[in-house]
Protein backbone atom coordinates (compact mmCIF):
# COMPACT_ATOMS: atom_id res chain seq x y z
CA UNK A 1 0.00 0.00 0.00
CA UNK A 2 2.16 2.74 -1.27
CA UNK A 3 5.63 1.71 -0.22
CA UNK A 4 8.44 1.72 -2.74
CA UNK A 5 10.26 -1.51 -3.44
CA UNK A 6 13.19 -0.34 -1.33
CA UNK A 7 11.18 0.63 1.73
CA UNK A 8 11.92 -1.44 4.86
CA UNK A 9 8.30 -2.65 4.90
CA UNK A 10 8.77 -4.08 1.43
CA UNK A 11 11.51 -6.43 2.56
CA UNK A 12 10.73 -9.94 1.43
CA UNK A 13 7.58 -8.89 -0.41
CA UNK A 14 8.82 -7.36 -3.68
CA UNK A 15 7.33 -9.02 -6.73
CA UNK A 16 5.18 -11.41 -4.70
CA UNK A 17 1.89 -9.58 -4.80
CA UNK A 18 1.78 -8.64 -8.44
CA UNK A 19 4.43 -6.75 -10.34
CA UNK A 20 6.38 -4.07 -8.51
CA UNK A 21 5.50 -0.62 -9.85
CA UNK A 22 7.32 2.14 -8.00
CA UNK A 23 7.35 4.75 -10.76
CA UNK A 24 6.51 5.48 -14.36
CA UNK A 25 9.81 3.81 -15.27
CA UNK A 26 8.46 0.43 -14.16
CA UNK A 27 5.25 1.00 -16.12
CA UNK A 28 7.32 1.75 -19.21
CA UNK A 29 9.30 -1.48 -18.85
CA UNK A 30 6.13 -3.49 -18.25
CA UNK A 31 4.35 -2.17 -21.33
CA UNK A 32 7.31 -2.03 -23.66
CA UNK A 33 6.05 -3.10 -27.08
CA UNK A 34 2.38 -2.98 -26.07
CA UNK A 35 0.06 -0.40 -27.60
CA UNK A 36 -2.32 0.94 -24.92
CA UNK A 37 -4.87 1.86 -27.60
CA UNK A 38 -5.11 -1.75 -28.70
CA UNK A 39 -5.33 -3.57 -25.38
CA UNK A 40 -7.28 -3.08 -22.20
CA UNK A 41 -5.48 -3.42 -18.91
CA UNK A 42 -6.97 -4.36 -15.60
CA UNK A 43 -5.05 -3.31 -12.50
CA UNK A 44 -5.84 -4.84 -9.16
CA UNK A 45 -4.81 -1.81 -7.18
CA UNK A 46 -6.64 -0.02 -4.43
CA UNK A 47 -5.30 2.45 -1.94
CA UNK A 48 -2.65 3.81 -4.35
CA UNK A 49 -4.98 3.44 -7.36
CA UNK A 50 -4.95 7.12 -8.36
CA UNK A 51 -1.15 7.15 -8.52
CA UNK A 52 -0.79 3.84 -10.35
CA UNK A 53 -3.55 4.70 -12.82
CA UNK A 54 -1.80 8.00 -13.48
CA UNK A 55 1.45 6.13 -14.16
CA UNK A 56 -0.33 3.90 -16.67
CA UNK A 57 -1.93 6.90 -18.37
CA UNK A 58 1.39 8.77 -18.38
CA UNK A 59 3.00 5.73 -20.01
CA UNK A 60 0.22 5.75 -22.61
CA UNK A 61 0.63 9.46 -23.26
CA UNK A 62 4.36 9.03 -23.74
CA UNK A 63 3.61 6.45 -26.41
CA UNK A 64 1.42 9.02 -28.14
CA UNK A 65 -1.84 7.35 -27.18
CA UNK A 66 -5.07 9.34 -27.04
CA UNK A 67 -6.50 8.91 -23.54
CA UNK A 68 -9.98 8.87 -25.02
CA UNK A 69 -9.08 5.61 -26.73
CA UNK A 70 -7.33 3.97 -23.79
CA UNK A 71 -9.35 1.35 -21.95
CA UNK A 72 -9.09 -0.73 -18.83
CA UNK A 73 -10.10 -1.10 -15.22
CA UNK A 74 -8.67 -0.18 -11.85
CA UNK A 75 -10.10 -2.03 -8.89
CA UNK A 76 -9.96 1.14 -6.78
CA UNK A 77 -12.54 -0.07 -4.21
CA UNK A 78 -11.19 1.24 -0.94
CA UNK A 79 -14.27 0.39 1.13
CA UNK A 80 -13.67 -3.32 0.76
CA UNK A 81 -10.13 -2.78 1.96
CA UNK A 82 -11.44 -1.63 5.31
CA UNK A 83 -13.92 -4.49 5.31
CA UNK A 84 -11.81 -7.35 4.03
CA UNK A 85 -8.52 -7.04 2.19
CA UNK A 86 -7.00 -4.56 4.62
CA UNK A 87 -4.64 -2.84 2.16
CA UNK A 88 -5.77 0.65 3.16
CA UNK A 89 -3.52 3.62 3.83
CA UNK A 90 -5.58 6.63 4.93
CA UNK A 91 -8.77 6.77 7.00
CA UNK A 92 -12.09 6.08 5.24
CA UNK A 93 -13.14 9.70 4.60
CA UNK A 94 -10.13 10.85 2.58
CA UNK A 95 -9.78 7.42 0.99
CA UNK A 96 -13.31 7.62 -0.41
CA UNK A 97 -12.62 11.17 -1.54
CA UNK A 98 -9.71 9.89 -3.65
CA UNK A 99 -12.04 7.31 -5.23
CA UNK A 100 -14.64 9.95 -6.04
CA UNK A 101 -11.86 11.97 -7.71
CA UNK A 102 -11.61 9.10 -10.21
CA UNK A 103 -15.42 9.03 -10.64
CA UNK A 104 -15.28 12.71 -11.54
CA UNK A 105 -12.14 12.80 -13.65
CA UNK A 106 -12.44 9.40 -15.34
CA UNK A 107 -15.53 9.79 -17.54
CA UNK A 108 -14.36 13.20 -18.71
CA UNK A 109 -10.79 12.24 -19.55
CA UNK A 110 -10.59 8.48 -20.06
CA UNK A 111 -14.16 7.60 -21.09
CA UNK A 112 -13.37 3.95 -21.92
CA UNK A 113 -11.98 3.30 -18.47
CA UNK A 114 -13.82 1.43 -15.71
CA UNK A 115 -12.57 3.47 -12.79
CA UNK A 116 -13.87 1.08 -10.16
CA UNK A 117 -14.51 -2.60 -9.65
CA UNK A 118 -16.71 -2.71 -6.56
CA UNK A 119 -15.64 -5.98 -5.03
CA UNK A 120 -17.21 -8.78 -3.11
CA UNK A 121 -14.53 -11.32 -3.91
CA UNK A 122 -12.29 -10.32 -1.02
CA UNK A 123 -15.18 -10.02 1.40
CA UNK A 124 -16.08 -13.62 0.63
CA UNK A 125 -12.48 -14.77 0.87
CA UNK A 126 -12.32 -13.15 4.30
CA UNK A 127 -15.06 -15.56 5.36
CA UNK A 128 -18.40 -13.91 4.72
CA UNK A 129 -21.47 -15.79 3.57
CA UNK A 130 -22.83 -15.37 0.03
CA UNK A 131 -25.58 -13.03 1.23
CA UNK A 132 -23.07 -10.91 3.14
CA UNK A 133 -20.86 -10.75 0.07
CA UNK A 134 -23.83 -9.60 -2.00
CA UNK A 135 -25.09 -7.09 0.54
CA UNK A 136 -21.77 -5.58 1.61
CA UNK A 137 -20.61 -5.18 -2.00
CA UNK A 138 -23.77 -3.49 -3.17
CA UNK A 139 -23.85 -1.36 -0.02
CA UNK A 140 -20.34 -0.20 -0.90
CA UNK A 141 -21.51 0.58 -4.43
CA UNK A 142 -24.43 2.58 -3.10
CA UNK A 143 -22.12 4.46 -0.75
CA UNK A 144 -19.92 5.51 -3.66
CA UNK A 145 -23.01 6.63 -5.58
CA UNK A 146 -24.12 8.79 -2.64
CA UNK A 147 -20.68 10.32 -2.26
CA UNK A 148 -20.43 11.08 -5.97
CA UNK A 149 -23.84 12.73 -5.95
CA UNK A 150 -22.86 14.73 -2.85
CA UNK A 151 -20.04 16.13 -4.94
CA UNK A 152 -22.56 17.22 -7.53
CA UNK A 153 -21.78 14.70 -10.23
CA UNK A 154 -24.52 13.60 -12.63
CA UNK A 155 -25.37 9.98 -12.01
CA UNK A 156 -25.64 9.07 -15.68
CA UNK A 157 -22.19 10.46 -16.29
CA UNK A 158 -20.36 8.03 -14.02
CA UNK A 159 -22.71 5.13 -13.27
CA UNK A 160 -22.29 3.41 -16.67
CA UNK A 161 -18.59 2.95 -15.94
CA UNK A 162 -18.98 1.37 -12.52
CA UNK A 163 -18.14 -2.32 -12.57
CA UNK A 164 -18.26 -5.09 -10.00
CA UNK A 165 -16.25 -8.12 -8.97
CA UNK A 166 -17.79 -11.13 -7.28
CA UNK A 167 -16.56 -14.43 -5.92
CA UNK A 168 -17.55 -17.81 -7.33
CA UNK A 169 -17.68 -20.23 -4.46
CA UNK A 170 -18.70 -23.86 -4.06
CA UNK A 171 -22.45 -23.69 -3.57
CA UNK A 172 -23.39 -23.83 -7.23
CA UNK A 173 -26.98 -22.60 -7.27
CA UNK A 174 -26.42 -20.05 -4.54
CA UNK A 175 -23.67 -18.40 -6.58
CA UNK A 176 -25.85 -18.19 -9.69
CA UNK A 177 -28.70 -16.73 -7.64
CA UNK A 178 -26.27 -14.26 -6.05
CA UNK A 179 -25.28 -12.79 -9.41
CA UNK A 180 -28.90 -12.65 -10.57
CA UNK A 181 -29.96 -10.94 -7.37
CA UNK A 182 -27.08 -8.49 -7.68
CA UNK A 183 -28.17 -7.39 -11.14
CA UNK A 184 -31.76 -6.98 -10.10
CA UNK A 185 -31.04 -5.09 -6.88
CA UNK A 186 -28.58 -2.74 -8.58
CA UNK A 187 -30.90 -1.98 -11.48
CA UNK A 188 -33.73 -1.18 -9.07
CA UNK A 189 -31.49 1.03 -6.95
CA UNK A 190 -30.18 2.99 -9.92
CA UNK A 191 -33.53 3.37 -11.64
CA UNK A 192 -35.92 3.75 -8.71
CA UNK A 193 -33.84 5.15 -5.88
CA UNK A 194 -31.19 7.18 -7.67
CA UNK A 195 -33.29 8.14 -10.67
CA UNK A 196 -30.73 7.27 -13.31
CA UNK A 197 -32.23 7.63 -16.78
CA UNK A 198 -29.56 6.01 -18.93
CA UNK A 199 -30.17 2.24 -19.15
CA UNK A 200 -26.40 1.73 -19.10
CA UNK A 201 -26.44 3.16 -15.56
CA UNK A 202 -28.80 0.41 -14.47
CA UNK A 203 -26.64 -2.41 -15.78
CA UNK A 204 -24.49 -4.23 -13.27
CA UNK A 205 -21.43 -5.33 -15.22
CA UNK A 206 -19.29 -7.76 -13.32
CA UNK A 207 -16.10 -9.73 -13.32
CA UNK A 208 -15.99 -12.89 -11.23
CA UNK A 209 -13.22 -15.06 -9.91
CA UNK A 210 -13.37 -18.60 -8.62
CA UNK A 211 -12.88 -18.81 -4.86
CA UNK A 212 -9.22 -19.04 -3.98
CA UNK A 213 -10.01 -19.85 -0.39
CA UNK A 214 -11.95 -22.98 -1.40
CA UNK A 215 -8.94 -24.60 -3.03
CA UNK A 216 -6.96 -27.17 -1.08
CA UNK A 217 -3.30 -27.87 -0.52
CA UNK A 218 -4.13 -31.56 -0.26
CA UNK A 219 -4.70 -33.42 -3.54
CA UNK A 220 -4.26 -30.12 -5.42
CA UNK A 221 -5.22 -31.53 -8.82
CA UNK A 222 -8.76 -31.96 -7.52
CA UNK A 223 -8.90 -28.17 -7.51
CA UNK A 224 -9.17 -28.30 -11.27
CA UNK A 225 -12.63 -29.84 -10.84
CA UNK A 226 -13.59 -27.29 -8.20
CA UNK A 227 -12.56 -24.39 -10.43
CA UNK A 228 -14.43 -25.80 -13.44
CA UNK A 229 -17.65 -26.08 -11.43
CA UNK A 230 -17.25 -22.63 -9.92
CA UNK A 231 -16.53 -21.17 -13.37
CA UNK A 232 -19.64 -22.88 -14.70
CA UNK A 233 -21.68 -21.12 -12.03
CA UNK A 234 -20.11 -17.83 -13.08
CA UNK A 235 -21.07 -18.27 -16.71
CA UNK A 236 -24.59 -19.51 -15.94
CA UNK A 237 -24.90 -16.60 -13.51
CA UNK A 238 -24.05 -14.17 -16.27
CA UNK A 239 -20.67 -12.84 -15.26
CA UNK A 240 -19.23 -10.55 -17.93
CA UNK A 241 -15.68 -11.71 -17.42
CA UNK A 242 -14.06 -14.57 -15.59
CA UNK A 243 -10.93 -15.47 -13.71
CA UNK A 244 -10.29 -19.14 -13.06
CA UNK A 245 -7.79 -19.93 -10.34
CA UNK A 246 -4.82 -22.23 -10.73
CA UNK A 247 -4.85 -25.59 -8.97
CA UNK A 248 -1.76 -24.68 -6.92
CA UNK A 249 -3.58 -21.72 -5.35
CA UNK A 250 -3.09 -22.91 -1.77
CA UNK A 251 0.61 -23.59 -2.29
CA UNK A 252 2.30 -20.69 -4.03
CA UNK A 253 2.05 -18.27 -6.94
CA UNK A 254 0.81 -20.17 -10.01
CA UNK A 255 3.17 -22.11 -12.23
CA UNK A 256 2.76 -21.64 -15.94
CA UNK A 257 1.30 -25.14 -16.26
CA UNK A 258 -1.30 -24.46 -13.58
CA UNK A 259 -2.26 -21.11 -15.08
CA UNK A 260 -2.58 -22.73 -18.50
CA UNK A 261 -4.98 -25.38 -17.20
CA UNK A 262 -7.03 -22.59 -15.62
CA UNK A 263 -7.20 -20.85 -18.98
CA UNK A 264 -8.09 -24.06 -20.81
CA UNK A 265 -10.94 -24.58 -18.36
CA UNK A 266 -12.47 -21.33 -19.55
CA UNK A 267 -11.86 -22.23 -23.16
CA UNK A 268 -13.61 -25.57 -22.75
CA UNK A 269 -16.61 -23.81 -21.24
CA UNK A 270 -16.57 -21.11 -23.90
CA UNK A 271 -16.08 -23.26 -26.97
CA UNK A 272 -17.20 -26.76 -26.15
CA UNK A 273 -20.22 -26.54 -23.83
CA UNK A 274 -22.47 -24.04 -25.57
CA UNK A 275 -23.64 -22.59 -22.28
CA UNK A 276 -22.44 -19.08 -23.08
CA UNK A 277 -24.82 -18.86 -26.03
CA UNK A 278 -27.91 -18.24 -23.94
CA UNK A 279 -28.54 -15.32 -21.61
CA UNK A 280 -29.73 -16.35 -18.15
CA UNK A 281 -30.57 -19.93 -19.17
CA UNK A 282 -31.72 -20.88 -15.67
CA UNK A 283 -34.36 -18.14 -15.52
CA UNK A 284 -37.74 -19.58 -14.68
CA UNK A 285 -36.27 -22.46 -12.70
CA UNK A 286 -38.46 -22.69 -9.59
CA UNK A 287 -35.40 -23.21 -7.47
CA UNK A 288 -33.23 -20.44 -8.88
CA UNK A 289 -36.01 -17.88 -8.81
CA UNK A 290 -36.83 -18.78 -5.22
CA UNK A 291 -33.15 -18.52 -4.23
CA UNK A 292 -32.77 -15.22 -6.07
CA UNK A 293 -35.80 -13.74 -4.32
CA UNK A 294 -34.57 -14.97 -0.97
CA UNK A 295 -31.10 -13.50 -1.45
CA UNK A 296 -32.55 -10.19 -2.57
CA UNK A 297 -34.73 -10.02 0.53
CA UNK A 298 -31.85 -10.82 2.87
CA UNK A 299 -29.64 -8.34 1.09
CA UNK A 300 -32.18 -5.57 1.55
CA UNK A 301 -32.39 -6.44 5.24
CA UNK A 302 -28.63 -5.88 5.48
CA UNK A 303 -28.98 -2.53 3.69
CA UNK A 304 -31.39 -1.46 6.46
CA UNK A 305 -29.00 -2.60 9.15
CA UNK A 306 -26.06 -0.74 7.62
CA UNK A 307 -28.10 2.42 7.08
CA UNK A 308 -29.28 2.24 10.68
CA UNK A 309 -25.62 2.50 11.71
CA UNK A 310 -25.26 5.60 9.56
CA UNK A 311 -23.94 4.02 6.40
CA UNK A 312 -20.92 2.03 5.30
CA UNK A 313 -18.20 4.29 6.73
CA UNK A 314 -19.86 4.38 10.13
CA UNK A 315 -20.45 0.63 10.01
CA UNK A 316 -16.74 0.13 9.35
CA UNK A 317 -15.75 2.23 12.35
CA UNK A 318 -18.30 0.40 14.49
CA UNK A 319 -16.72 -2.94 13.64
CA UNK A 320 -19.95 -4.18 12.07
CA UNK A 321 -18.32 -5.88 9.09
CA UNK A 322 -15.47 -7.28 11.17
CA UNK A 323 -17.97 -8.93 13.50
CA UNK A 324 -20.20 -10.31 10.76
CA UNK A 325 -17.26 -11.71 8.81
CA UNK A 326 -15.47 -12.94 11.92
CA UNK A 327 -18.56 -14.81 13.09
CA UNK A 328 -19.24 -16.28 9.65
CA UNK A 329 -15.66 -17.46 9.13
CA UNK A 330 -15.42 -18.96 12.60
CA UNK A 331 -18.72 -20.78 12.09
CA UNK A 332 -17.50 -22.19 8.79
CA UNK A 333 -14.28 -23.44 10.37
CA UNK A 334 -16.18 -25.11 13.21
CA UNK A 335 -18.38 -26.86 10.66
CA UNK A 336 -15.31 -28.13 8.85
CA UNK A 337 -13.58 -29.21 12.07
CA UNK A 338 -16.74 -31.02 13.19
CA UNK A 339 -17.07 -32.79 9.86
CA UNK A 340 -20.41 -31.13 9.17
CA UNK A 341 -18.96 -29.45 6.12
CA UNK A 342 -16.92 -31.80 3.97
CA UNK A 343 -13.85 -30.62 2.14
CA UNK A 344 -12.83 -33.49 -0.12
CA UNK A 345 -9.24 -34.49 0.49
CA UNK A 346 -9.01 -32.50 3.71
CA UNK A 347 -11.48 -33.78 6.28
CA UNK A 348 -12.66 -36.70 4.22
CA UNK A 349 -11.43 -38.75 1.26
CA UNK A 350 -7.86 -38.01 2.17
CA UNK A 351 -5.02 -39.86 0.60
CA UNK A 352 -1.53 -39.57 -0.80
CA UNK A 353 -0.96 -37.11 -3.57
CA UNK A 354 1.98 -36.21 -5.75
CA UNK A 355 4.08 -33.21 -4.94
CA UNK A 356 3.55 -30.44 -7.44
CA UNK A 357 6.21 -28.04 -8.68
CA UNK A 358 6.06 -24.62 -7.08
CA UNK A 359 6.52 -21.20 -8.61
CA UNK A 360 9.02 -19.28 -6.56
CA UNK A 361 10.03 -15.64 -6.81
CA UNK A 362 13.75 -15.16 -7.21
CA UNK A 363 14.94 -13.06 -4.26
CA UNK A 364 17.27 -11.33 -6.69
CA UNK A 365 14.17 -9.54 -8.03
CA UNK A 366 14.17 -7.31 -4.97
CA UNK A 367 17.77 -6.29 -5.58
CA UNK A 368 17.17 -5.58 -9.26
CA UNK A 369 14.18 -3.45 -8.40
CA UNK A 370 16.12 -1.59 -5.71
CA UNK A 371 18.88 -0.72 -8.20
CA UNK A 372 16.33 0.35 -10.80
CA UNK A 373 14.72 2.67 -8.28
CA UNK A 374 18.09 4.18 -7.32
CA UNK A 375 18.67 4.92 -10.97
CA UNK A 376 15.25 6.54 -11.41
CA UNK A 377 15.88 8.79 -8.41
CA UNK A 378 19.32 9.70 -9.77
CA UNK A 379 18.28 10.47 -13.32
CA UNK A 380 15.08 12.46 -12.87
CA UNK A 381 14.84 16.23 -12.43
CA UNK A 382 14.53 16.92 -8.69
CA UNK A 383 12.86 20.29 -9.31
CA UNK A 384 10.11 18.61 -11.31
CA UNK A 385 9.67 16.10 -8.51
CA UNK A 386 9.42 18.81 -5.88
CA UNK A 387 6.97 20.82 -7.95
CA UNK A 388 4.79 17.81 -8.61
CA UNK A 389 4.70 16.71 -4.99
CA UNK A 390 3.83 20.25 -3.91
CA UNK A 391 1.01 20.28 -6.45
CA UNK A 392 -0.23 16.98 -5.09
CA UNK A 393 -0.15 18.23 -1.51
CA UNK A 394 -2.06 21.38 -2.52
CA UNK A 395 -4.73 19.43 -4.36
CA UNK A 396 -5.15 17.07 -1.43
CA UNK A 397 -5.36 19.89 1.12
CA UNK A 398 -7.57 22.21 -0.86
CA UNK A 399 -10.15 19.70 -2.01
CA UNK A 400 -9.25 19.86 -5.69
CA UNK A 401 -9.52 16.78 -7.83
CA UNK A 402 -6.19 15.07 -7.32
CA UNK A 403 -5.97 13.29 -10.69
CA UNK A 404 -4.22 16.12 -12.60
CA UNK A 405 -1.64 16.30 -9.82
CA UNK A 406 -1.17 12.52 -9.88
CA UNK A 407 -0.64 12.66 -13.63
CA UNK A 408 1.96 15.41 -13.27
CA UNK A 409 3.66 13.41 -10.50
CA UNK A 410 3.76 10.35 -12.74
CA UNK A 411 5.34 12.27 -15.60
CA UNK A 412 7.96 13.66 -13.22
CA UNK A 413 8.92 10.16 -12.10
CA UNK A 414 7.81 10.74 -8.54
CA UNK A 415 7.78 7.36 -6.90
CA UNK A 416 4.66 5.81 -5.49
CA UNK A 417 6.08 6.00 -1.99
CA UNK A 418 6.85 9.69 -2.31
CA UNK A 419 3.32 10.47 -3.42
CA UNK A 420 1.71 8.34 -0.73
CA UNK A 421 4.00 9.89 1.90
CA UNK A 422 2.69 13.33 0.95
CA UNK A 423 -0.85 12.09 1.34
CA UNK A 424 -0.04 10.28 4.58
CA UNK A 425 0.98 13.66 5.98
CA UNK A 426 -2.20 15.32 4.78
CA UNK A 427 -4.73 12.58 5.53
CA UNK A 428 -3.13 10.58 8.31
CA UNK A 429 -2.89 6.82 8.39
CA UNK A 430 -5.62 4.42 9.42
CA UNK A 431 -5.31 1.96 12.26
CA UNK A 432 -8.17 -0.45 12.35
CA UNK A 433 -9.76 -1.43 15.65
CA UNK A 434 -8.20 -4.73 16.71
CA UNK A 435 -11.01 -7.23 16.92
CA UNK A 436 -10.86 -10.98 16.94
Amino acid sequence: MGYDSDHPFSRGEVGKCGVAIASLADMEVLFDGIDPERVTTSMTINSPANAIWAMYLAMAQRKGADLRRVGGTIQNDILKEFIAQKEYIFPPGPSVRLVIDTFEWGPRNVPRWNFISVSGYHIREAGSTAVQELAFTLADGIHYLRKALERGLDIDEFAPRISFFFNLHNDFFEEIAKLRAARRIWARQLREVFGARDPRSWMLRTHAQTAGVSLTAQQPHVNIARVAIQALAGVLGGSNSLHTDSFDEALALPTEEAATIALRTQQVIAYETGIASTIDPLAGSYYLESLTNDMEERCLAYFKEIDALGGVEQAIEAGFFANEIGDASYRQQREIDAGERIIVGVNDYGGPFPEVPLQLVDPEVEEVQRRRLERVRRERDPREVKRALTQLRDAAMNGHNTMPAFLAAAHSYCTLGEQMDVLREVFGVYREPVLI
Binding site: M1, Y3, F9, S10, R11, G12, E13, K16, C17, E81, Q85, K86, E87, E125, A126, G127, V213, T216, A217, Q218, A250, L251, A252, L253, I325, G326, S329, Y330, Q333, R334, I336, D337, I343, V346, N347, E355, L358, L360, V361, R431, E432, V434, I436
Partner: protein
Protein backbone atom coordinates in the same frame (compact mmCIF):
# COMPACT_ATOMS: atom_id res chain seq x y z
CA UNK B 1 0.16 -25.11 39.13
CA UNK B 2 0.84 -24.14 35.56
CA UNK B 3 -0.80 -20.91 34.55
CA UNK B 4 -2.99 -20.60 31.51
CA UNK B 5 -0.99 -20.50 28.32
CA UNK B 6 -0.60 -16.98 26.97
CA UNK B 7 -0.42 -16.77 23.21
CA UNK B 8 0.37 -13.81 20.98
CA UNK B 9 -1.05 -14.07 17.47
CA UNK B 10 0.67 -11.66 15.12
CA UNK B 11 0.42 -10.48 11.52
CA UNK B 12 3.86 -9.32 10.38
CA UNK B 13 4.40 -7.14 7.35
CA UNK B 14 1.94 -5.80 4.84
CA UNK B 15 -0.12 -8.95 4.48
CA UNK B 16 -3.76 -8.13 5.24
CA UNK B 17 -5.12 -11.68 5.10
CA UNK B 18 -6.28 -12.00 8.67
CA UNK B 19 -9.02 -14.61 8.41
CA UNK B 20 -6.79 -17.45 9.59
CA UNK B 21 -5.16 -15.46 12.37
CA UNK B 22 -8.54 -14.40 13.73
CA UNK B 23 -10.07 -17.88 13.50
CA UNK B 24 -7.08 -19.37 15.30
CA UNK B 25 -7.19 -16.62 17.92
CA UNK B 26 -10.85 -17.31 18.62
CA UNK B 27 -10.36 -21.06 18.68
CA UNK B 28 -7.50 -20.81 21.14
CA UNK B 29 -9.50 -18.48 23.32
CA UNK B 30 -12.46 -20.85 23.27
CA UNK B 31 -10.06 -23.61 24.24
CA UNK B 32 -9.19 -21.68 27.39
CA UNK B 33 -5.93 -19.97 26.43
CA UNK B 34 -5.23 -16.30 26.87
CA UNK B 35 -4.87 -14.80 23.45
CA UNK B 36 -3.56 -11.42 22.44
CA UNK B 37 -3.99 -10.50 18.79
CA UNK B 38 -1.64 -7.80 17.55
CA UNK B 39 -3.66 -6.68 14.56
CA UNK B 40 -2.08 -5.97 11.20
CA UNK B 41 1.05 -4.27 9.94
CA UNK B 42 3.37 -5.39 12.68
CA UNK B 43 7.11 -5.08 12.32
CA UNK B 44 9.22 -7.85 13.78
CA UNK B 45 10.30 -5.40 16.45
CA UNK B 46 6.72 -4.63 17.40
CA UNK B 47 5.98 -8.33 17.66
CA UNK B 48 8.98 -9.03 19.85
CA UNK B 49 8.11 -6.06 22.07
CA UNK B 50 4.51 -7.18 22.40
CA UNK B 51 5.56 -10.73 23.20
CA UNK B 52 7.78 -9.54 26.02
CA UNK B 53 5.45 -6.85 27.31
CA UNK B 54 2.51 -9.23 27.32
CA UNK B 55 4.66 -11.91 28.91
CA UNK B 56 3.47 -14.58 26.53
CA UNK B 57 4.53 -18.20 26.35
CA UNK B 58 4.01 -18.55 22.64
CA UNK B 59 4.09 -16.37 19.55
CA UNK B 60 2.14 -17.40 16.46
CA UNK B 61 2.92 -15.67 13.18
CA UNK B 62 0.48 -15.71 10.29
CA UNK B 63 2.10 -15.05 6.92
CA UNK B 64 0.42 -15.50 3.56
CA UNK B 65 2.51 -13.10 1.52
CA UNK B 66 5.53 -15.27 0.83
CA UNK B 67 7.70 -13.26 3.22
CA UNK B 68 7.72 -15.97 5.89
CA UNK B 69 11.45 -16.74 5.87
CA UNK B 70 12.20 -13.07 6.46
CA UNK B 71 9.75 -12.56 9.31
CA UNK B 72 10.27 -15.78 11.20
CA UNK B 73 14.00 -15.19 11.12
CA UNK B 74 13.69 -11.63 12.36
CA UNK B 75 11.28 -12.48 15.16
CA UNK B 76 13.40 -15.39 16.38
CA UNK B 77 16.52 -13.24 16.27
CA UNK B 78 14.68 -10.46 18.07
CA UNK B 79 13.53 -12.75 20.86
CA UNK B 80 17.01 -14.18 21.21
CA UNK B 81 18.53 -10.70 21.44
CA UNK B 82 16.15 -9.90 24.30
CA UNK B 83 16.92 -13.15 26.15
CA UNK B 84 13.46 -14.43 25.41
CA UNK B 85 14.25 -17.47 23.33
CA UNK B 86 12.18 -19.58 25.67
CA UNK B 87 9.12 -18.05 24.06
CA UNK B 88 7.98 -20.67 21.60
CA UNK B 89 7.40 -19.53 18.02
CA UNK B 90 5.01 -21.24 15.66
CA UNK B 91 3.06 -20.12 12.64
CA UNK B 92 0.88 -20.70 9.68
CA UNK B 93 -0.22 -19.38 6.33
CA UNK B 94 0.99 -20.05 2.84
CA UNK B 95 4.34 -21.72 3.40
CA UNK B 96 5.64 -24.22 0.86
CA UNK B 97 6.46 -27.61 2.38
CA UNK B 98 10.05 -27.24 1.25
CA UNK B 99 10.50 -24.18 3.47
CA UNK B 100 9.26 -25.90 6.63
CA UNK B 101 12.53 -27.74 7.44
CA UNK B 102 14.48 -24.50 7.03
CA UNK B 103 12.09 -22.71 9.35
CA UNK B 104 12.42 -25.48 11.91
CA UNK B 105 16.20 -25.20 11.71
CA UNK B 106 15.82 -21.51 12.56
CA UNK B 107 13.86 -22.52 15.64
CA UNK B 108 10.21 -22.45 14.57
CA UNK B 109 8.37 -25.12 16.55
CA UNK B 110 5.62 -25.85 14.06
CA UNK B 111 4.09 -24.57 10.84
CA UNK B 112 0.41 -25.14 10.17
CA UNK B 113 -0.52 -24.96 6.51
CA UNK B 114 -3.88 -24.95 4.70
CA UNK B 115 -6.15 -27.82 5.72
CA UNK B 116 -5.06 -27.78 9.35
CA UNK B 117 -7.96 -28.07 11.77
CA UNK B 118 -8.13 -25.72 14.74
CA UNK B 119 -8.04 -28.81 16.99
CA UNK B 120 -4.58 -29.69 15.68
CA UNK B 121 -3.30 -26.27 16.70
CA UNK B 122 -5.02 -26.49 20.08
CA UNK B 123 -3.58 -29.96 20.71
CA UNK B 124 -0.10 -28.78 19.77
CA UNK B 125 -0.25 -25.80 22.11
CA UNK B 126 -1.72 -27.85 24.94
CA UNK B 127 1.53 -29.78 24.95
CA UNK B 128 3.53 -26.55 25.41
CA UNK B 129 4.31 -25.84 29.03
CA UNK B 130 3.73 -22.30 30.25
CA UNK B 131 7.02 -20.48 30.84
CA UNK B 132 6.24 -19.76 34.45
CA UNK B 133 4.20 -21.16 37.28
CA UNK B 134 1.19 -19.26 38.56
CA UNK B 135 2.19 -16.62 41.09
CA UNK B 136 5.72 -16.12 39.87
CA UNK B 137 6.97 -12.93 38.21
Amino acid sequence: MARTLRVLIAKPGLDGHDRGAKVIARALRDAGMEVIYTGLRQTSEMIVNAAIQEDVDVVGLSVLSGAHMHYFREVLEGLRARDAEDILVFGGGIVPDQDVPRLKELGVAAIFTPGTSTQEVIDFLRRVPARQEEGQT
